[in-house]
Amino acid sequence: MTTATLAAREVELNDEGFFVDPTSWSEEMVPELAQREGIDVLTDAHWTVIRFMRREFFEKGTGPTVRVLGKTSGVSVKELYQLFPKGPAKVAARIAGIPKPRGCI
């Protein structure tokens, strides 16, 4: 567990960089979070995915997998990888301030 300062507020992140408490996240933190993932320019498509991830998490208790994102977010899997080259589900979850998508067992 580490503490990070984002948008002048202290938040707790776990060892893999995911938010411990998703409610401690705010939209002002997104540019800094994106930069930590190597994303310097945030497009509307990034925001679409980030907001979609949060909505899914609060509705279903887990963030979506890449495949579900591709089917339901309106952004194709190919495009998702262009937006978040290091792995859309995990990277977008970190930026969206939600836990690691549980995926499947």
Partner: protein, 418 residues
């Protein structure tokens, strides 16, 4: 008044639920109808052994109807859709069946066409899956004439049935090529979309160690975007390529097609969301879900369908009696993992507890997360229990629905679950 339970799917979950229900009620009290599109019940754990010549595809398939007790009607027909409002199942031939309780037991469907190139050139000649009897049989022919080169085993994405099966395939391939004396001529690679060999941390570490001991290369976070059968390579969405001479691919899975056609029943992958403890669907109170068809955070595995079946049957009885449901399903899965060379290890876990070392079901029992000959024998001897005890709905000795903890070494400070 006779009430009717309609079970959609005559596989592991549907068959055992129908048989257990039939035993709980007199004929005049309850009618049980099972619907399936074909009459071929596959003993799916047997598919793993077919490519290595250790099982014959014909021997692991039996008629579905014959696994059902007397007094259960079996309708061989496709399902067009379920009308949840009117409690009617519309069948492919235009007829319909009303229900008081519906059990969705239609399993998971393979979707090889959803991966670009997978079913193109090379499919079933250089690129195979062992998840169907045909695929496993064809792969047996290809392995028998394989004299060396790169074997890539790839899971396209989760969820899949029996998430340990692709790993077992790698271990058995290592064993198989060793026995044939050509192991040093074969490079075996396991490419997974996960960030480790398996989902759960302790088991992932054990299985990852076993892969490296066997000289099997592990490639993680590989999300297959395209298969090029003529160029013999797999490409991931992040641009990495894996060249192969023989590829064994576990295709994407989805739920049954009729789920997608039934308004309000399924999720985006056509699996059916259900309460993870009661297995009552989120769609309607009289709809229950068992086995791979369920969208719950449990493995898609026969053992899960078996354990979940007990809760489903109990809750159908309670639902019909107007009593509150029991929240007894704990996500219990119990899997023998073949590790080759005549050995296997056993993992046992549920929603809360990841697979741990120890013994099963108690201090005296089979070793957990540890290779042993006994586990291998238990896996191979399971098939008669499947046909003669599990499907008919008899209790299998020593195998209870709730996960046992007696023989397990639980870490003192339980690591935080991801």
């Amino acid at each position: 008044m006779t009430r009717r339970v309609v079970v959609l799917g005559g596989g592991t979950g549907g068959t055992l639920v129908a048989n257990r229900l039939r035993r709980r009620f007199r004929l005049g009290e309850l009618e049980v109808v099972v619907v399936d599109q074909d009459d071929r019940h596959v003993y799916q754990p047997g598919l793993l052994f077919v490519p290595f010549g250790l099982a014959d595809p014909d021997d692991i398939v039996r008629p579905r109807g014959r696994q059902l007790r007397d007094g259960i009607s079996f309708r061989r027909q496709t399902v067009d859709r379920v009308d949840i409002e009117d409690r009617v199942v519309h069948l492919g031939d235009g007829s319909s069946v009303r229900y008081d309780v519906l059990v969705v037991a239609s399993g998971a469907r393979l979707l090889p066409d959803e991966t670009p190139g997978l079913t193109g050139p090379g499919w079933m000649s250089d690129v195979f899956t062992f998840y169907t009897p045909q695929g496993a049989g064809a792969l047996a022919g290809a392995l028998a004439t394989f004299d060396g080169g790169r074997l890539v085993v790839n899971v396209v994405d989760l969820p899949i049935k029996c998430p340990v099966a692709p790993l077992e395939f790698c271990f058995l391939a290592d064993s198989y090529f060793t026995r044939r004396g050509i192991r040093e001529k074969v490079d075996i690679t396991y490419a997974t979309p996960l960030d480790a060999a398996f989902t759960k941390p302790v088991a992932a570490a054990h299985l990852g160690d076993l892969l490296s001991q066997r000289g099997i290369e592990l490639v993680t976070e590989f999300n297959t975007g395209e298969v090029d059968g003529s160029g013999r390579s797999l490409t991931s969405y992040d641009g990495r390529s894996l060249a192969f001479d023989l590829a064994v691919v576990v295709p994407l899975h989805g739920g049954a097609e009729f789920v997608g056609r039934s308004a309000g029943l399924g999720d985006e992958l056509d699996f059916v969301p259900a309460d993870e403890r009661t297995l009552q669907s989120k769609a309607a109170p009289e709809v229950f879900v068992v086995g791979d068809a369920a969208a719950i955070p449990a493995s898609k595995a026969g053992s899960v369908a078996h354990f979940a079946g007990e809760t489903v049957v109990e809750n159908i009885v309670r639902f019909l009696d107007g009593e509150p449901l029991v929240e007894t399903f704990d996500g219990h899965a119990n899997c023998f993992v073949e590790t080759g060379h005549g050995k296997a290890l056993l993992i046992d876990f549920n929603y809360e507890q990841e697979p741990l070392p120890g013994r099963y079901p108690s201090m005296v029992g089979l070793p957990l997360l540890k290779e042993s000959r006994a586990n291998h024998l238990a896996k191979r001897l399971f098939e008669p229990f499947y046909w003669h005890a599990l499907l008919p709905g008899r209790d299998v000795p020593g195998v209870g629905a709730a996960m046992p903890v007696a023989g397990k070494r639980v870490p003192v400070a339980q690591k935080e679950m991801p």
